[in-house]
């Protein structure tokens, strides 16, 4: 019955068939720590609320389980900051381009030293 799934969020998985749970501690990547710190700070300053973050994450729909945990929470944070007008789409795009450019270093040419001094 299609009514079964009406307006059911991706997070609302109680009763669904579930596989084994991965209990390995995967640690946190550097960007994840930064993203998490930003989220904690904005929550502590009451710029965003946990209820809003949950809602924005749930609204990811099919994307919800395609993203990893910190990707999901960061996507939710992005949605809220845009919604609240704290940042604009344009500012975010410009800043992302600026950050990308910092890493856009030319490939190192082949080192004549390394090539010539093979032991």
């Amino acid at each position: 019955m299609s009514e079964k799934a009406l307006n059911k969020g991706p997070h609302d998985m109680g009763g669904e068939a579930a596989g084994p749970i991965d209990t390995t501690d995967h640690g946190m990547k550097f960007w994840e720590k930064q993203a998490n710190a930003l989220r904690s700070t904005l929550s502590a300053k009451k710029v965003v609320r946990v209820d809003e973050l949950r809602r924005a994450a749930e609204d990811l729909g099919d994307q919800y389980y395609k993203l990893e945990y910190f990707e999901r929470t960061t996507a939710a944070l992005r949605t809220l900051l845009l919604e609240k007008g704290i940042i604009t789409e344009g500012e975010l795009r410009a800043q992302m381009a600026e950050v990308r450019a910092r890493f856009d270093v030319p490939k190192a040419p082949a080192s004549p030293v390394k090539n010539g001094m093979r032991r």
Binding site: G14, R49, D51
Partner: protein, 127 residues
Amino acid sequence: MTPGRRTQARTPLPSTYTPAPGHRFSVGDRVAVKRTFPPGHRRTPYYIRGKRGVIERICGAFPNPEELAYGFDGEPRKVLYRVRFAQNHVWEDYSGPTHDVIEMEIFEHWLEPAPGAAARSGSDEPG
């Protein structure tokens, strides 16, 4: 003395329970979870909707998270209850002991008196 985890652990944690004036249901009341499927951020899992249980305790009154989720202040506050359900009622194919229960915290606006249950309190029967 430096305050640390050890000293903090000895201090009783403050209760998160708050007064709930004007609560509609009392402990022991038989209730049914509304069988409705509205869009938006909802704090009542799908699988419990339409199920019947018993009020186990009144947790307090809290800003409505279903409003907070959209940037509003969550007022008026909603009374939150802990509701006890029989597992074999919630899950049709439940094979565990018949006395197994699941308890869930549910806001008042998701609850209505169970069919046939008069608005009364005092029953200690499990769901």
